[in-house]
């Protein structure tokens, strides 16, 4: 889809910098209008930074600061994502959350949190007494005193969501430049010349959705409004056999510093424990640490003791784009034809559709002409969620394509048909990690004991590139080069 000729790169109406979930949501929103839009991404795939390494919780925004942009956009995004997920098949479940109080002090705070939730427009929160709490979550550790139920809290697939947005944007004519870190931005008066390693991109408007680097791009545009202080979150994914241990998302009572460590089911049927909250200096410091993992296990052991008896399937760490400000850093500079959508700390996946709608309104108010174009509105995505009809269970799909009956990744039950689809999709997997995110292959309990060689072989065959080892090419690192 990317243009290769130099001229084709000229004359874009809008350049969106960053193909995280926020950037591609904005690109998708823009793609519905008669605009030439390009997305510039530093990494070799969409959604490889904060987007992919988080708790995958779909927040209602019940605990956001009332009146904040974050609260407003989370609330705006909620019905948009519900509708979009239903239409495209993004795996979403709404098990609800229980915010569990473990001390008298925490119990006393639940009322204030309920009030705050209602101020944020989340009316269905309600107190849960201790007996009912243990009836709902019999495996919960001893000592809980009560809880606040937030029925709208959910879980979402952090891989399919940006892929769905990007796929629709591509189908509507948006250009996606991967491996295109922005080196400089020059304003020539009626347009910008954006330098990327393989050339110059000309665009009249710039949208900064660069996540962990959003402050750097904002400085390139001449502003000093915020600095990203990456906050690392380490997470542990437990085996699918742990899934029956928990039915809701189990949240701690938040502190001013952090939302704390939670236990949550995932849409893939695992159980997630995390995140830690560590301020790190390095924007690529996505390594896990012995202390971090030990801390999580200690906390997990008191929240849900039986969890620790199950095998760990994966550990990972991601960076949130925290700044010195509590709220999102969304700014519009009409004279510069520039919108900054940075500092989207930890709720970007949930708020992305709201942020996109808001950003496009800001662009329109600043003078970007929007004319509706005939466009796709939602492209079907492969069913990866446990609540969906997975291909290996779909007799009709297998009858139509026997490759959907050939399971290659045994732990995640990923079929050859799905792997081939991911390698042939408009936004195709170009690496083992890309294939993992699109299909789940190799992300299960054996971590490739059975399938990594078979999948590497298939990837080699399809991409014609020799890969060295199981996880060659671009890794699980965050969005900075």
């Amino acid at each position: 889809m990317s243009p290769t000729e130099a001229d084709a790169r000229s004359g874009y109406d809008v350049a969106v910098i960053g193909a995280g979930v926020v950037g591609v949501a904005i690109a998708r929103e823009l793609s519905r209008y008669e605009l030439r839009t390009v997305v510039l991404e530093a990494c070799s795939d969409v959604g490889t930074g904060t987007t992919k390494a988080n708790t995958a919780i779909r927040h209602t925004g019940f605990d956001a600061k009332p009146g904040s942009l974050e609260a407003m956009l989370l609330r705006r995004a909620y019905p948009l994502l519900s509708e979009y997920a239903a239409r495209t098949g993004i795996p979403v479940e709404t098990p609800g959350a229980l915010l569990v109080a473990w001390t008298a002090e925490q119990l006393a705070r639940l009322d204030a949190l309920a009030t705050q939730a209602r101020e944020n427009g989340i009316q269905d929160v309600h107190a849960v007494r201790v007996a009912e709490l243990y009836a709902r979550e019999p495996r919960l550790g001893h000592g809980a005193l009560g809880a606040l139920a937030i029925p709208g809290e959910g879980i979402v697939c952090p891989f399919t969501t940006p892929l769905a947005f990007a796929t629709e944007a591509l189908a509507n004519g948006v250009c996606l430049e991967l491996d295109a870190p922005v080196r400089s931005i020059q304003d020539s008066g009626d347009g910008y010349a954006i330098s990327i390693p393989h050339g110059l991109v000309q665009a009249r408007w710039v949208v900064n959705a660069a996540g962990l680097c959003s402050d750097i791009i904002d400085r390139m545009m001449g502003h000093h409004r915020f600095t990203v202080h990456p906050r690392r979150g380490q997470l542990i994914v437990f085996d699918k056999l742990a899934r029956p241990l928990v039915s809701s998302i189990l949240l701690p009572v938040p502190t001013p510093v952090s939302k704390g460590v939670l236990v949550a089911p995932t849409v893939f049927g695992n159980v997630l424990l995390g995140p830690t909250a560590e301020d790190v200096a390095d924007r690529v410091a996505t390594e896990t640490t012995a202390d971090g993992l030990a801390d999580l296990l200690a906390k997990g052991g008191s929240i849900l003791p039986a969890l620790l008896e199950e095998e760990v399937t994966a550990t990972y760490a991601g960076l949130r784009a925290a700044t010195e400000h509590a709220d999102y850093q969304i700014h519009c500079d009409p004279a510069q034809r520039y919108v900054c959508a940075g500092g989207i700390r930890s709720t970007g996946l949930s708020a992305s559709m709201g942020i996109a709608a808001h950003v496009v309104e800001l662009l329109a108010d600043a003078g970007l002409r929007l004319r509706c174009a005939a466009s796709h509105h939602g492209v079907p995505m492969p069913p990866l969620g446990e609540s969906q009809l997975r291909r290996f269970r779909d007799a009709q799909a297998i009858a139509g394509n026997p490759a959907y009956g050939e399971i290659v990744c045994h732990c995640e039950r990923v079929t050859r048909g799905e792997l081939v689809d991911a390698l042939e999709a408009p936004l195709a997997a170009r690496s083992m990690d890309g294939l993992r995110r699109r299909t789940r292959a190799g992300l299960g309990r054996c971590q490739g004991f059975y399938c990594s060689a078979a999948i590497t072989s298939l990837l080699d065959e399809r991409t014609g590139r020799a890969l060295e080892g199981t996880r060659a090419t671009h890794s699980d690192r965050a969005a900075v080069r």
């Binding site: 390594e287 896990t288 095998e311 045994h410 004991f449 996880r471």
Partner: protein, 448 residues
Amino acid sequence: MPRTATGLRFGDLVTTRPVPGPATGPERAVDVLVVGGGPSGLAAAVELRRHLATVAVVEREASLGGIPRHTRHSGYGLRDLHRLMSGPEYARRYATLAERASVELHVSTTATDWSPDGGIVTTSPSGIVRWAPRAVLLATGCRERPRAARLVPGDRPGGVLTTGSLQQFADLFHLPVGARAVVVGAEHVSFSAIHTLTAHGVSVAAMVTGQPHPQTYAVLRTLTAGRHRVPVHTSTDVVAIHGTDRVSAVDLADRRSGARWSVACDTVVFTGDWVPDYELARRRPVAMAGPHPSVDQWLRTSSPGVFAAGNLVHAAETADIAALGGRQAARAIARYLADGSWPGGAVDVVASEPLLWVHPARLTSKSERPTRDRLLTRVGRFLGPGTIELSQGGRVLHAAHHRRLVPNRSISVAAASLASADLGGGSVVLGWHPGRRATENADRAGSE
């Protein structure tokens, strides 16, 4: 075969969560469905055909034979086929035996779940089938515990393997592996990993074990680590992995001195530390005993009609022992098919610290002997001298002195004394008593 198009509901044996469906498929009747076409599953199937049962084996890989398919070294077949051969030869041999015995063999066929009536649902390129067998044998084997499950921190680059994936890369798919590797673990399979690596031109920078000594035979160690001058770091852990796209180094830490250092490498192979592949077993309420489905001396699980054998119930023994267990299970299944009887009462056989587990984990008859008339157990650390003691309610049934017990190595205990256990009594306990040889055991000393 009766064929119906009954709708299926998945998963409701385990959890109340609705799993989407319906996936419809034809129903297939068979006497015995064997899940897993490795050594134990195939040995069981061949033996069952001798008892004239109709047998189908479902194997999720594209070829039969299980793990020996990709272990190129020799040492297979001694106890079950009475000849030595390589892993791939052994795998082919069992595939041939099964074909000759007219076992119905289905490769690329995955048992995904139990059906509500206790049958098995499979997916394969030819569709979804609902099997209605009279008996099920679970022979799903085991796998090595990967890096993530060992909670080894650091970056998550490419080049982190297990012996299983290494062998598949190198020997099944002929893909490049790397140039310089660190092997984590020092049990039998770890030395097999060195063999595979060096055979493919990969130098081995270090072998690392948290244990104070390697856990394999001296001869195996000499032939691999010794021959290729691989430094073996004992009492040492991998404490971090570094690398962006590809592994660049690992950090090691000595448990005794606390010293930490880095070793440059592009490949890390996590070996051994076996985990039984118990998913299907646990998706049905089959009682577990530690990491394994709890089976009695004839490999019956707690669920009537469901048997389990091989490294699913003792992770991990050599392939020939897994195969002998499969044969034993076949005889038990043949008996079950003939008379439909299923033992009621059971006495648990439990391992007490520092023993990790014991197989079999239940005793339901004194006249039925366990495979090879032995109990199997494991220890988590080097022990000895001392006595392994089998007792019930304080009454010693059997005691055997050992000068040394080695972790990650098979330890067997004579099972003849189970004949004196009380089937109406409490648990039979397999325990360890450190100390010099007790006089009453003098005659058994050093028997292992």
